[in-house]
Amino acid sequence: MIHTIRSGFRNWPIRLKLIFTGLLTSSIALMLAGTSIVGYQWYQYRSDVAAELTSVADMIAVNSSAPLIFGDQRSAARTLAPIKAETRVAEVAVYQTGGDLFATFVRLGINDAHFPPAARIGDQGFEWFSLRVARPIVVDGENVGAVYIRSDMPDLGPRLYRNASIMAGVMFVAALVALFATSVLQRLISQPIQHLANVAREVSSGNNYAVRAVRETSDELGVLTDAFNSMLEQIESRDQVLETKVTMRTAELTRSNEDLIVARDKAEEGARLKSEFLANMSHEIRTPMNIIIGMTQLTLDTRLDTRQKRHLSMVRSSADALLTIVNDILDFSKIEAGKLDLDMVEFGLAECIRERTASLSIRAQEKGLDLNIQIDEDVPDTIVGDPVRLGQIVVNLVGNAIKFSSTGRIGIHVSLEDQLTLKEKTGADAALLRFSIADDGIGIPAHKLGTIFEAFTQADGSTTRRYGGTGLGLSISRKLVEMMGGRIWVRSEVGRGSQFTFTVLAALPKQIPVQAAAAPGSETARGMVVMPDREQRDLLAEMLTNWHIEAASMDSPAAAIEVMKWSGRVGRTFSFALIDSVLAADEQGRFLREMGVNPELALVRIVLVDRSGSLPTAPGGPAAIEWPVSQSALLQVIADLLGSQKNTSKSMRALATALGAQTTSEGTAVWDRLRRILVAEDNAANREPIMALLETRVPTEAVRMVGDGREALLAAGEEQFDLILMDIQMPQLGGNEAAAAIRLIDARRGVHTPIVAITANAMKGDREIYIAGGMDGYVSKPIDFDTMFLEIERVMTMPVSWDI
């Protein structure tokens, strides 16, 4: 308790402490003084009363002596009578020598008068409010008796009370004065302290060392203030020194930073210039290389003797190798320079892989290798990404596999590595696809596995010598894979083959709404096969499935009708039905009737599989295909069919690709149809190889050359061409503008002239821009001859009828 009071007091503000101390001190002093004064007054009063009583007693003694001697109590009583005037006297007694009471006086109002025995009377005695005095009565030297007087000091109480009241009043006033004085005093002491504290707080909270406390007095507080201020000054000056130092250091640092930035910029600029130079050089090399290759090929196609053919073949293959190297270096330097941007377009994955590996499969076949593509069911059909670069990776790995294999098979396997997890992680619709390319080739030694993805390395130096190549392919592939958010790795065993696997993070197209299921390019066509023989039925269905056509096969027309009706009601209309002519005539007839009357089936085109080879094909009637059904014939029929339905589905593109590939391998059907070709190209250096290329396929007079877009437009107005090759960047009128104008002419004529754009550099999103601009296809410069042939054949076989 005391401890808490003490510690509480210790924590009081100085202001309160001072006031409290002042009050306490003054109160104690006043109380001491007051008590002393009252005590002294009391003592003084008592002494006065005692003296008075003594004189009264002496008087009584004198006056009582004769009555005592002469035994006259009456006279004695008379003697005591005047005592009444002495208000302080309460009791008086006169004793004889023997101690007997001789006469008494008791003040009126005192009821309990008590006279002590004479022997017990001292000279003087006090009780609380009572004073006793006794005096002997002496006559002629003889003690004849005694007088006893008691006073109850009646005015002592009021007098003490009055004094105490005055004291209390004085104390109160003194306390007020003390309070006032200490308040003033505490202001003198605690205000400077408070001021110091405020300044200190300002310093610490604002880190402002420039403020100073104001010194008002020259006492200890003034000394404290001075000390505080000098401390602040020291801190401030030290801060200034530090600040100066920091400023100097910062300046030095900034200078060196700037130097570093300049140096870094210089270095980066150097690297960039180097890469740019490399890219430009590669590009400059590529153009003549393409011409060399093209011309060599053209010459090879002419009549040559065996030796010339062998030499030219060596020229051709060396040029191919050189071009590959140049392309790799170009890609690599682009990647290194950070100039390679990935496309973000929607594309069909399977289509992309098939397209890009089409030419490789020919090479594989030439080496007797079996190239097999397997795409898992759960792999998304359409993804968003860069089809060119993804294809490049696949082509590179497959190309390597072909290069380093002499027997066995090469497998391409695409699977879905992860989808849901990614969705949760990124919140975006994306798929991690896994591509695996396996071969039965020579394999890679274990100690080389770690470095094959590094630039300019191959399994060993001898490999380069034996198999050619730059060793940049894998390095480029790895960089591309990493850019696509994946990784690449290899498992290999010498003599047993290699398996390259990479993952790619591919975005998925925005969720297609239900009614948009029929949107161009995303849906698949549906086809029905009605054929009693199960094996034949399944064979046809498999062919259709290969072209991304959803195939159903039934053994009876009735069942097929039911399925197609049901399917049509849920919006999955069948595009066509193949019906076997081996079926009974009445069954065929019923089938055709059913097809005619059911509105769900009205749009389903019918293809008769003609076993007799004698069925007439009436215009507007069912299409027919001869038995045994060849894949190319079926492809042509279905492509025509879907093309006439303006079908732009995935199936349609698959068919077109297949048709293109078929045409390439089969030969010249396309070129037979090309009787008039217009080439618009301003650069003479490009005109010659294009001319030479076309001359290998069509007569020279079929080709008309113009130098710019305006001339091209004039030419197109003069005559109808079967194909136009249009350079994009031309003087007078650009390729895009010319194409748009030609489309107007087409519209007037009710035709569609296939136009293939020739572009300077394949840039991001180019294909989409050209297609949207009215082109049917495009090839990029420098012109690769094979690519150009393939693109022309693709465009020519594209059974698309355009809305004009």
């Binding site: 004198v62 006056n63 002596s65 004769a66 009555p67 005592l68 001697i69 002469f70 035994g71 006259d72 109590q73 009456r74 006279s75 008379r78 003697t79 004889q96 020598t97 023997g98 007997d100 001789f102 006559v139 002629d140 003889e142 004849v144």
Partner: protein
Amino acid sequence: MGGTAWRASTIALAAVLAMSLAAAGGAGTMASSDVETRIKAAFIYNFARFIEWPGRSGTGPVRIGILGHGELASPLEEVIRGKTANGRSIEVTHIGAATDMDCCEILVIEHSESKHVAEIVQSLAGKPVLTVCDGGNCVRDGVMVVFQIVEESVRFQINQQAAEHAGLKISSQLLKVAIPAEGRHQ
């Protein structure tokens, strides 16, 4: 009231005896007249203590003369034995003739001389002698102190005029105790 008065008288007597006769030895049992006589004797002695005789030498003994024959002589001698009054010794003398009457300070006139009081007083006129008479009409005759019995107590009356005429100074204290001169007693 008679009871109270008696008791007071007794107390007074006891006081007087205690003071005046303490040295007289055991008094034994006495008759009431004896007590009265002895009180009177003590009173006479005490008168000497309250009176001054300015005309006479203050150093010699206080002489108490007894004129006539009565009961007072012997108790008085007992009372004064060994006593002093205001530092003076006290003597008791018997006076046979009136001629020697002025040779003493106090003259006690016994009953035997009661018929001659007036003559005695006449002869002492102007002389500083305190005349004391025991009862009767002595006051009228000009005796200065006359014993009386008031309410069974021995009291006395003082003829202040006579005393002053004789040049005696009587203490006021003594006057206070005395019976007032005229008609003061009941």
